[in-house]
């Protein structure tokens, strides 16, 4: 019995981790289960829009995936039989497929277990991102390849290598012990943050037929937040994504050019997302242990709540960055704190803070250090130094829209000063 329902793609992405979790738990071999579920998803994407969505879509996917594994095992057995004439009992176990309900019951843990596996610290970030989008996000290899502008074969290899690494590392498909969970959850949140960034960063580029990675990251983070509602950093990350995504319509101009925060048309900001993000981060900060995602979300909330750029509560932002700086040894935080300090105490205070970064190999020579310096010298009225730093930043950035923005800033200053190239 089937009913025609629109939005098959959305349904499949919701079901993907539940079905994969059940198949992986039953079969034990995560890599084989992941391939089989991907085949089942592709079959469903072809069949359901034509035949209608089955009454029990999860059960349908589960059965088809198990059938694929059985088929693969059968052909493997046939090959072995030819080779050594010893017939195993292996496939017989798979000939009987039980009703899936019991298998599918443990879905709550499955999505988390999958995320812990796909974002395992033994994987490089690009591998973890690709595997998470496919195994947990339910995207096809072709969709992921198109999101990252690489050929499908390249992405297929990246995913296959990620699964080999998991296999080689011997991580079992089971919920990690409590002691490990905090560290592994940190890795999961980092991967989701990177996926969000990737989507947010490339939203200015050619977006035809590309899955929206920011929305995908938000969807997955919402799913973890639903599973772990009391984890304040999960809530903080979700809030940070919503409060940042709220400005999406205002942050680029008609040709994809960057529009800085203080020049954005705030009427274009999404009030609904801002309200949701503010509520989330406020509750998180009241509730649990304060962490870096909550603090970054709190900064985003302060910006989002200012009716005009001039109304921004920079003193509060400065305080938040000071806490964040003590918490995480990250020179990028110091850069942001220097901007906030300049807004509160004047550009000299910010520039003084930046001087400490010249000794830091992680950021010395980084275009962002030049860009912030340029900005602060411009605030201080030192156009000559500002111009030099805008130009240095423009030469160092690998981002085309950011380069364009910095070149434009330099050109305006040069025109004002009447100095040429």
């Amino acid at each position: 019995m089937t009913t025609p329902v629109p939005g098959v793609g959305h349904l499949l992405r919701e079901l993907a981790p539940q079905v994969l979790g059940a198949v992986a738990r039953r079969h034990g071999d995560f890599a084989a289960a992941e391939d089989a579920v991907q085949e089942a998803l592709i079959a469903a994407a072809e069949r359901w829009p034509v035949d209608g969505v089955p009454a029990n879509p999860r059960g349908w996917l589960y059965h088809v995936a198990l059938r694929r594994i059985t088929d693969h095992l059968r052909s493997e057995m046939a090959r072995r039989r030819r080779e050594d004439a010893v017939a195993g009992e292996l496939w017989a176990e798979w000939a009987f497929v039980p009703p899936p309900d019991a298998e599918l019951d443990a879905e709550r843990d499955d999505t988390l277990t999958l995320l812990f596996m796909c974002c395992h610290p033994s994987l490089t970030p690009p591998s973890a991102i690709a595997l998470t989008l496919r195994a947990v996000g339910g995207l096809t290899t072709a969709e992921i390849a198109s999101a990252f502008f690489v050929p499908e074969a390249t992405m297929a290899q990246r995913i296959s290598r990620a699964k080999q690494s998991i296999k080689a590392s011997g991580v079992p498909f089971s919920m990690p012990r409590d002691a490990e969970r905090a560290a592994l959850l940190g890795a999961v949140l980092h991967v989701l943050y990177l996926i969000f960034n990737e989507g947010y960063a490339s939203s200015a580029g050619p977006a035809l037929h590309r899955p929206d990675l920011s929305n995908e990251a938000i969807r997955l983070t919402r799913a973890i937040h639903a599973l772990l509602p009391n984890d304040s950093e999960v809530a903080g990350l979700l809030a940070l994504m919503l409060l940042t995504d709220a400005r999406r319509a205002a942050r680029t101009g008609p040709s994809g050019e960057l529009i800085p925060l203080d020049e954005q048309d705030r009427a274009l900001w999404d009030r609904g997302l801002i309200a949701e993000g503010v509520a989330l981060v406020s509750a998180a900060l009241r509730g649990g242990a304060v962490g870096p995602y909550q603090l970054q979300a709190a900064v985003a909330a302060v910006h989002d709540e200012a009716p005009r750029a001039a109304d921004t509560d920079w003193a509060q932002i400065l305080a938040l960055y000071s806490v964040l700086e003590r918490m995480s040894d990250n020179p990028m935080v110091t850069l942001n704190r220097a901007v906030a300090a300049a807004m509160v105490h004047g550009p000299a205070a910010g520039l003084e803070m930046l001087a400490t970064l010249d000794e830091d190999a992680r950021v010395a020579g980084h275009h962002r250090l030049d860009a912030v310096r340029a900005h602060l010298y411009e605030m201080a009225g030192d156009d000559e130094r500002a111009l030099a730093h805008y130009r240095a930043a423009a030469e160092r950035t690998a981002s085309a829209p950011e380069r364009d923005y910095l070149v434009q800033k330099a050109a305006r200053l040069a025109a004002r000063r009447g100095v040429g190239a």
Binding site: V150, T244, A297, S399, E402
Partner: protein, 132 residues
């Protein structure tokens, strides 16, 4: 991060020094390139790669009156020319340098490494995330 690796080949008596090689040396060179390309794909690093026709056919083009193309060249005096390129996606610049060094050591006459200069340039990307 994506990088373009630009392979500059030495010019020979003709355009292609390679056409003076023995068939065995030529085959070893081409086999090396096929293997290299395959390794890039298997590693999940391949984005694009193309060989270019020799500079004997190359033209410099500028817009003339009414935008009509005005061509110049070919120019025979260059000691090296762009013979082809790869675009790879890697997670750190050092990996791009490693790949370039590998391509640079493609075998030439007698199987000796050519040590071709490979120019490595990062491909510009979309904007990084604007901080909160």
């Amino acid at each position: 991060m994506k990088y373009m690796l630009m392979m500059h080949a030495p010019a020979g008596t003709g355009d292609y020094q390679i056409s003076d090689w023995t068939p065995e040396d030529f085959k070893a060179h081409m086999d090396f390139m096929h293997r290299f390309n395959k390794e890039l794909t298997t590693a999940g690093e391949w984005v694009d790669g193309q060989g270019l026709t020799p500079p004997g056919q190359a033209k410099l083009v500028r817009a003339g009156r009414n935008g009509a193309p005005v061509t110049d060249g070919p120019f025979a005096e260059a000691k090296e020319f762009l013979a082809g390129y790869w675009i790879v996606e890697v997670d750190r610049p050092e990996r791009a340098y490693e790949l370039a060094a590998k391509a640079s050591a493609a075998p030439g006459p007698g199987g000796a490494p050519l040590n071709m200069p490979i120019e490595v340039r990062q491909v510009m990307s979309a904007p990084p995330t604007v901080e909160a």
